[in-house]
């Protein structure tokens, strides 16, 4: 009887493990998708502020498997900072993107060069 109970428990745990095996994300996105969508729909100071907060959160709270900022996030944050006339911090963020993701060098590197002229 005890053995049977143990087998059942093991079966249930195994089922749980199999179904959850691939569910963990590489990155933490928090509410990025919604904030980005709302900003795209309606560009106001309020929606921009919410999106900026999302970038800050994503950059400082990575709990995904890779424990790294998702590709494109530093660059996207930089884009908005530059639009808000914060060129200096924008360039810092662009450089972080290239450092973390060398694949971005051709595109982001060109933007950095233009901004530093």
């Amino acid at each position: 009887m005890k053995k049977l109970k143990l087998i059942i428990v093991i079966c249930l745990i195994s089922m749980g493990c199999i179904s959850c095996m691939s569910s963990k994300s590489l990155y933490t996105w928090h509410n990025y998708e919604d904030a980005s969508y709302v900003y795209t729909k309606k560009q106001t100071d309020k929606t921009l502020d919410k999106l900026i907060k999302e970038y800050k959160y994503i950059i400082s709270h990575q709990k995904g498997i890779r424990k790294a900022v998702p590709p494109g996030i530093y660059a996207e944050y930089a884009y908005l900072l530059i639009k808000m006339n914060n060129k200096k911090e924008g360039i810092v963020m662009l450089k972080k993107e290239v450092e973390l993701y060398p694949e971005s060098k051709m595109f982001v590197g060109r933007i950095i060069k233009q901004l530093e002229k």
């Binding site: 179904s19 990025y32 498997i65 590709p71 595109f107 933007i111």
Partner: protein, 224 residues
């Protein structure tokens, strides 16, 4: 004791189904062999080709593919930056590039892949409590121009209609559908259709997912 045996049998059967659910004949490597040969690292999302009457869909849908591709392990160029470039370089209409050379995207952006999407349906039927999206996804190599991945998905999500069908229930259903944004259904469609895409460099199963089974090229799903 009998109940326990029955429960145990059920567990074993469930385990069998869970582990065998993905064992079909089509695999990622058989369907998308050149994704493994080319080993692409980065992807740029092209502005969607909109075949619906809703002009704004193009902008709204565009960024929704970003997260799912990054989670697949690819370097995804920021949608905001890429869109800005497309607009400034008169490359906003993907119709001009879907069959043409993609070399400019390789030489200017450094992208290995370009994802094209064609939005065929983007509908909300409030009275029927239904939202439907129909989207085709085409991934081409910027090096060879070859189509490496092509799938189409039609996803309909209906608010569950209650059996009682009282006026109050109907009103609740209509309200639920009205409040559900089409983008949520589109995101689900992205997740379902792009699920079969082989993993990129940053994915946990990069170069280890060749034998993962894949679904049909065209998917038609109705969810409640």
């Amino acid at each position: 004791m009998r109940n326990l045996k029955l429960l145990l049998s059920l567990c074993v059967i469930c385990l069998f189904f869970v582990s065998c659910a993905n064992k079909k004949s089509l695999t990622r490597v058989s369907q998308y062999p050149n994704m493994y040969k080319e080993k692409p690292v980065s992807i740029v999302i092209m502005p969607p080709i909109n075949k619906t009457n809703f002009v704004e869909v193009k902008e709204y849908f565009y960024a929704s593919m970003y997260k799912v591709l990054a989670e697949k392990g690819y370097y995804v160029f920021s949608p905001y930056l890429a869109m800005d470039l497309f607009k400034s370089e008169s490359a906003y209409d993907s119709e001009l590039f879907i069959k043409g050379s993609l070399k400019p995207f390789r030489n200017i952006i450094g992208a290995d892949l370009a994802l094209f999407t064609i939005i065929n349906k983007w509908e909300k039927q409030t009275l029927l409590n239904k939202i439907t999206v129909n989207i085709e996804y085409i991934i081409r190599s910027t090096r060879t121009g070859e189509i490496l991945f092509n799938r189409k998905g039609e996803l309909t999500i209906s608010a569950k209609s209650s059996s009682g069908a009282s006026i109050l229930d109907m009103a609740v259903n209509i309200l639920t559908t009205a409040l559900t944004d089409k983008i949520i259904v589109a995101r689900k469609c992205n997740n379902i259709v792009l699920q079969d895409l082989p993993e990129g460099k940053y994915g946990l199963n990069y170069e280890k997912d060749q034998n993962v089974s894949v679904g049909n090229k065209e998917i038609n799903l109705k969810l409640n």
